[in-house]
């Protein structure tokens, strides 16, 4: 299933004019506050009637100004997970979860319900009321409630933004399971590059109401021209990998196309696919293979592009094996080392973050 969206809508101070497609998997709609993300998702859900456009899931049209067609939200069958949960305060968790089922053409059966409850780890909360839940528990129930309305598509509007870091870390694995265990397309709105790097298979970058970049997550995240959108401190590439071995000194060896990376111990078994996030600020460049250095991960690389930023830094795109990563260095270093496309060098990777699952489009 693919969601195609084309929407034009004038708001005070912002004109939204965006078109994109969200295929199977998680499509992250990324943008800074005020870029028009929520407006866009509300238009898809039918909570807002845009000036013009068309929204369709495959050939099922939800909205089309050209044909004068507009389905009200309750007939769109899109599960919507809001930033603030929006659980019904007067119902128990169980009632909240089953709310959508009575309107669904085919209600989820007992086994499917149990599976969703188990997947989200909310079995012990069923008889409680929302007022007695923590923020993270509320969001997990909200995800379950949306899933159990038998939707054709899941919309998530910054579902983690209202939570603190530990709560985010608590929910992210559930969302990864959701991505990997259902074949529901998910439109995931976020302004957090970290979340996107962990969850997204496709990334759509929205800037001042326009789509500035769209494509497979690994491709968009390793694009040096997209660095200003993500911010120089957060930009970083995604690389698909596979656990090769666990070492007795607590390190795990991950095989990527351009070599091997040593990372802190991962619990998954050897052979497991994962995605490795290498942030641009954690990559140093060296013309010769460095000796006597504490960093363990030194990979041969070829410069493919150099994009100056607005400040004193430049974004350097490197090819490592068949993957692309980014390095952020100062303009002065780039000039001193003579860094330009085609140059062979070594990338010194200071730290690596790991997320489970395959990278969209590259895995």
């Amino acid at each position: 299933m693919t969601l195609s969206v084309r929407i034009r809508h004038a708001l005070p101070g912002l004109t939204l004019d965006a078109a994109f497609e969200a295929p199977q998997g998680v499509t992250a709609l990324f943008g800074r506050s005020g870029a028009g993300k929520t407006t866009l998702v509300n238009a898809v859900a039918g909570l807002l009637r845009p000036d013009a456009g068309r929204v369709a899931v495959d050939d099922w049209v939800l909205f089309d100004t050209a044909r004068g067609l507009w389905l009200p939200p309750h007939r769109r069958r899109l599960g919507y997970v809001f930033q603030e949960g929006r659980l019904f305060p007067h119902m128990t968790v169980r009632k909240n979860l089953s709310y959508g089922a009575r309107f669904a053409p085919v209600a989820p059966n007992r086994r499917e319900t149990d599976h969703v409850v188990e997947m989200l780890g909310i079995g012990h909360l069923l008889d409680r009321r929302p007022g007695a839940l923590s923020g993270g528990e509320k969001q997990r129930v909200a995800v379950g409630r949306a899933l159990l309305s038998a939707p054709r598509l899941l919309l998530m509007d910054e579902p983690l933004a209202a939570l603190d870091e530990p709560r985010k870390a608590e929910i992210l694995p559930y969302l990864e399971r959701l991505r990997d265990e259902t074949d529901l397309p998910v439109l995931y709105v976020s302004h957090s590059v970290t979340e996107i790097a962990r969850l997204a298979t496709t990334v759509v970058v929205l800037d001042s109401g326009r789509v500035t970049r769209a494509g497979p997550a690994a491709e968009v995240l390793s694009d040096p021209t997209a660095v200003p959108s993500f911010g120089p401190r957060e930009a970083g590439a995604l690389v698909p990998g596979r656990i090769a071995a666990h070492h007795p000194d607590g390190l795990t060896e991950v095989e990527i196309s351009g070599g091997r990376l040593l990372i802190p111990r991962e619990s998954a078994a050897p052979g497991t696919s994962l995605r490795v996030r290498i942030e641009a600020k954690d990559v140093m460049l060296s013309l010769a293979r460095p000796e006597g250095i504490s960093a363990l991960n030194i990979l041969p690389a070829t410069v493919t592009a150099v994009t100056p930023g607005t400040g004193p830094g430049v974004a350097v795109q490197l090819r490592i094996g068949t993957d692309l990563i980014l390095a952020r260095i100062t303009r002065r270093s780039a000039e001193r080392l003579g860094i330009g496309p085609g140059l062979a060098c070594f990338a010194v990777v200071k730290s690596v973050a790991v997320a489970k699952g395959d990278v969209g489009g590259a895995g």
Binding site: L47, P73, H74, G79, R86, F88, H90
Partner: protein
């Protein structure tokens, strides 16, 4: 039971209870609808509707009663129509007393319900819509349970107001014992005759007791429902 209240006094109390009960119950659906319209909908003439609803609060009750007599009296346009078509007579009947009480209590009822509706987060209703509920189902499953405390408060307030309504009632349907002589009308009548003070005092006591009972009941109910709705 009639030991300390005379038959005429009992009659007035019973009539008042009946009039107030029906005034409240019959106007409640309209009250909810009007409160909903004023709180949520935008339509031309909204301020005029708002004004008309609140008019009985500001007008002298005698004027409201007189206007009711002009409209719903047997010679009135609406009254004549209802009598011909439905056999429904308001003038000088207990039904008329109920109508007068309902009109006078309506602004209080609408106000309480409207405040409750305005306190409901429309985002919850949006969430219900995205889960597949149409407008009526959203109202029945989300909005209505959440505004229940406001509805109860509004109904009890209206009931108490109806129990005490005097001016519009006596103007519209007069003061006929057993037919339109409500509790306040009876107190008024007793005070007009020599030696009626003790009966008036007893009825005043009944009034106070009913009013206090209504207020307490509303408090208890509202607290119970608020606890349920707050989600704990």
């Amino acid at each position: 039971m009639t030991g300390w209240l005379g038959p005429e006094e009992w009659q007035a109390v019973a009539l008042s209870l009946r009039v107030s009960f029906w005034a409240t119950v019959a106007s409640l659906p309209l009250g909810i609808l009007v409160a909903l319209a004023l709180a949520r909908w935008s339509f031309p003439g909204k301020q005029i509707v708002n004004g008309i609803v609140h008019l009985p609060l500001i007008l002298p009750p005698v004027v409201t009663g007189y206007l009711l007599l002009l409209t719903f009296g047997t010679q009135g346009p609406v009254g004549g129509f209802l009598e011909d078509r439905l056999g429904l007579v308001f003038a000088f009947r207990w039904t008329g007393a109920a109508l007068a009480a309902a009109v006078m209590a309506f602004p209080l009822m609408v106000r309480a319900i409207r405040l409750a509706i305005e306190a409901v987060d429309p985002k919850l209703e949006q969430a219900a819509a995205t889960l597949g509920a149409g407008r009526i189902r959203v109202f029945a499953t989300v909005t209505l349970p959440l505004i229940l405390p406001g509805i109860i408060a509004g109904a009890i307030l209206a009931f108490a107001k109806a129990m005490g309504e005097f001016g519009a009632t006596i103007t519209f349907v007069s003061n006929i014992p057993g037919q339109t002589q409500t509790l306040p009308s009876a107190i008024y009548a007793f005070l007009q005759v020599p030696g009626g003070e003790t009966a008036a005092l007893r009825l005043a006591g009944v009034s106070v007791a009913i009013a206090m009972g209504a207020l307490l009941a509303s408090e208890i109910l509202a607290r119970r429902v608020a606890k349920r709705v707050s989600g704990i």
